[in-house]
Structures are given as structure tokens and as C-alpha cells.
Symmetry: C2
């Protein structure tokens, strides 16, 4: 019997807790605010940004938004980031990716002060994570950890296989899991025998962008499977895992949609709240 992990419900609970805390903070006259920066008119990006802004408003936080032309120069984007960085009402800054080709994403992201880096993607935030220092963590990997915690899955001493070594999920997730005391293996495109790496694992997290990559041949009975992938298909959304084939094998599995996806926005809310609280006491997270 395989349990489906209800990421949508867990994300709702987290967002509700954030909203409560925001209400308390607001009572003290401090309302957290998120600034989203959208450059250009990529339809998918516009949809993502709209969803984030809606969630921010639902949580009772202030919604600052900047929409720049797809022809915006690096200096123009940098100026907007600097202005938001200096604005005490802006707790967090999110630069929606991907950026138009003429812009250098890494340079612009690193312009966001660590204290307002609610996406946790700056080099400074990566350093804080690598060194185990307090800081803002990337939303999707933190969301995976929250899901596992919400399911009461013990991480200390657990064998976890992270399939996929991307900058946004695989690499930071491996660090978060290691900090929690898991024995972590990172597999990727150069891994010769994926099943050999994933079959011993108590928890398998898949974030490869390869549709249906992982199936029963990769998972030991009773393991927990977290599917970070999302693919639009004629039959609807699907992930990196062949979930149906794992029914009765995995003890728990995240669905697509409704698993990890909703957690990403929930953790963005958490990060924005944290940033607001840390910015209130700058020493904890110096920019």
C-alpha cells in the first residue's frame, strides 16, 4: 500500500502558519514585503510571477512588482535591484528566471543582498548553505525537506539518493540533507548504473528533468520517492518518476502535480517572512 504525499495540503498548512505570523508581525507595525522582478514577456514566467504575487497578498504581505522591457540592459535591471535592496519595506527580492539573452543572470542575481535573497540563489547564500551558516535556502530543496519532515520521515542516518545535480535543486538539496545527518549520494547524467545507486536508498529524490526516468527497477520496497520533475504532456502534467509503476512498492510517493510543486511557493512565503524578521535585526544576516 503506497501513500500519496499530499504536498498541496502541507503547503497550505505552511502558508496558513506564515499568514498567522505575518498578522502578528503586522501588529508590531512591520509588514513583510516581496519584490518580484519580471524582465520581458515570457508567458510561463508571467504565470509564475502572478502566482507568487497572489500568494504573497494572500499571506498578508506587501506585493512590490517591477516589470521591465525585454530589451532592458544589465544596468537598468541592476538599478532596480539596488533600489529595492535599499528599500526597508522590501523584505525579499525575487528576480524571475530565465532572463532575456542579453542579460547575465549570475551577475544580476549576485547583486541581490543575501539578506533579501528569498530564492536563495546568490553565491553568498550558496556559501552560507555550504558552511552551514544561517541564511536563506533555495525554495524547492527546502520544500522537499519540509515534505519529508511533515511525513515524519527520519533524515538522520537515512540513506538518500538525490538523482540530478542541478544548481536549483540537486546540489543544494544534497547539502540540506547532509546537514540533517543523512547519508547522501548524488547521481546524475554521468552515473553509470543508476539503479545500483538508488536501490539501496531509503529515500529517492528525483530532479532530472527527464520524464519518467525512475521506475520500480530503481526503488527498493518501502522507500519514499520524491518527484521534483514536472512535464506538460497531452495527458496532462507528469514527473520524472513512473509513479503508477511504483504503486505497492514505494511506501510513500509525491504526486505530480500536487507534490513538490506547491511547496516551492510555500517556501518562498517562509523565506520572505524570515527575511523580514532577519532584516529587522541586520546582524543575523548581513547583506
Amino acid at each position: 500500500m503506497t501513500t500519496t504525499i499530499d504536498g498541496a495540503r502541507i503547503a497550505r498548512d505552511i502558508r496558513a502558519r506564515v499568514a498567522e505570523r505575518v498578522a502578528e508581525t503586522a501588529a508590531c507595525g512591520r509588514v513583510p514585503g516581496l519584490a518580484t522582478i519580471l524582465v520581458g514577456d515570457d508567458p510561463a514566467s508571467a504565470v509564475y510571477v502572478a502566482a507568487k504575487r497572489r500568494a504573497i497578498r494572500e499571506a498578508g504581505m506587501r506585493d512590490f512588482h517591477r516589470h521591465l522591457s525585454r530589451h532592458a540592459s544589465g544596468d537598468e535591471v541592476a538599478a532596480v535591484i539596488d533600489e529595492l535592496a535599499a528599500d526597508p519595506d522590501v523584505s525579499g527580492i525575487l528576480l524571475q528566471l530565465p532572463l532575456p539573452a542579453q542579460l547575465d543572470a549570475a551577475t544580476l542575481i549576485d547583486r541581490i543582498p543575501a539578506a533579501k535573497d528569498v530564492d536563495g540563489l546568490t553565491t553568498a547564500s550558496a556559501g552560507r548553505l555550504a558552511r552551514g551558516e544561517r541564511g536563506l535556502r533555495p525554495c524547492t530543496p527546502s520544500g522537499v525537506i519540509e515534505l519529508l519532515d511533515a511525513e515524519g520521515i527520519e533524515l538522520r542516518g537515512a540513506c538518500v539518493a538525490v538523482v540530478g545535480w542541478g544548481e536549483l535543486v540537486g546540489r543544494p538539496l544534497a547539502q540540506l540533507l547532509l546537514r540533517r545527518g543523512a547519508t547522501v549520494t548524488v547521481a546524475h547524467e554521468f552515473t553509470a548504473d543508476l539503479a545500483a545507486v538508488t536501490r539501496p536508498a531509503d529515500i529517492v529524490v528525483v530532479a532530472t528533468g527527464v520524464r519518467g526516468l525512475v521506475g520500480p527497477e530503481h526503488v527498493k520496497p518501502g522507500a519514499t520517492v520524491i518527484d521534483v520533475g514536472i512535464h506538460r504532456t497531452p495527458e496532462g502534467l507528469t514527473g520524472d518518476v513512473r509513479a503508477a509503476e511504483l504503486d505497492g512498492i514505494a511506501s510513500r510517493i509525491t504526486p505530480v502535480p500536487g507534490g513538490v510543486g506547491p511547496m516551492t511557493i510555500a517556501m518562498l512565503m517562509v523565506n520572505t517572512l524570515r527575511a523580514a524578521e532577519w532584516n529587522a535585526v541586520p546582524k543575523t544576516v548581513p547583506a
Copy 2:
């Protein structure tokens, strides 16, 4: 038949190449320089710093040294770091650890500009490593990679078990190996079944500080074993690996002493040279 990896020879070769390159650089009027900062009178630290300074001079680089009282305040150490950071003749700054109890090591280390962080221990350098950006890497893990490269061992696709999750070796080494395309598992004190993790590995790197932890029960025939540990015993120096018991099982193994140890200073020479070249063109590694 097990081959002993001659770290002393490989380190000598690297230091000779650095010296050649330094001579070329000097011909252009730029002589790299390392500033070592020793706070207090810890005898072991004094020995380590002396060895580093000797190596720097042997490589034809400039040796800047500051010795502060064991009662030095954080402000005093910070002032010395700032002065060396501003000195164009100082390519690299090394703050010898451990520091006296009244000093906050993390804060003082992070005061070293990334461009001069030849120990690769600042949060900024950790971030550059985590993000795969150009930067100075910690000396001992880079030394392990250099040893494997010198032995012609293919890292891409290799299964590597890193035993030990310390900040100085295990964690950064896992990142370096991953960047090279290895399938990496990090095991540590919470790992339930160490042998289960290490036996499948093509390469086992041990950096736990636990004398003789790893033996034949942990290593598959033909694997390469790298021993980062070093322990002083009545019988002399020994490592984290029971090397004698692995004779005839491992294909290659590093001795203690004469394995990884000499590589650490060699990589410090390499980092100081790199820092000098990067500082000559600040854009590549902004402080």
C-alpha cells in the same frame, strides 16, 4: 599488488611547476606573495606556519608574516587582515587556525577577500565552489583531486565514497568530485552501515579523524583508497585507514605520511600563484 601513491613526489613536481611559473611572473615584475598570520604560540601552529613560509620562499614567492599576541583582540586581527587585503604585494592571506578562544574564527576568516583567500575557507569561496564559479578552493581537497589526476584515475562516472563530512575536507571534496562528474556519496558519523556505502565505490576517500577506521571490510578489490587522516602514535604517524590490511586488495593507496599531507602545502603554493594572477586582473575574482 597494491601501488603506493607517492604524494611527496607529486607534491614536489607541483611545487617545481609553481616555482617555474613564479620565475616567469617575476620576470614581468610581479612576484606573488603570501601573508601568513599566526595568533598566539600554539607549537603545532608555529610548525605548520614555518613549513608554509619555507615552501613559499622555496617557490620564489614573497613571504609576509605577522605574529600576533595570544591576547590579540578581534579588532587587532581584523586590522591586520584589512591592511594585508589592501596591500597589492600580498597575493594571498592565510589565517592559521586554530585561533585563541577569545577570537571568532568564522568572522575573521570571512574578512579575507575572496581574491586573497588562499585557504579557500571563506563563505564567499564556499559559495563560488558550490555554484561552480571560478575561485580559490580549499587546499587539502584540491590536493586529493590532484593526486587522483596525477595517477590518471578517471573521475567522470566513477563511484566515490567520501567518508567524513568536515568543513575542511569532506564537504568541499564532495563538491569538487561532483563537479568532475563523479557519483559521490558522503558518509559520516550517522551512517548506519559504512561498509555498505564504501564497498561499491571505485574510490574511497577517508577524512574522519578516526584512527584506523577503514579496513578491508570497507573496500572492494581494485579500489583506490585515499587516506586524509593523520595521527601521531608511539609507533609514528598513521592515518584513518588500516593500510597494511589493504595490501593486495586496494589497487592504489596513499601512505601516511607522504600521501595527502604534502599535497596540502603544494596546493597552497598553487592557490597563492593563482591569487596573484587573478589579482592582476581583479575582474576574474572580485573581493
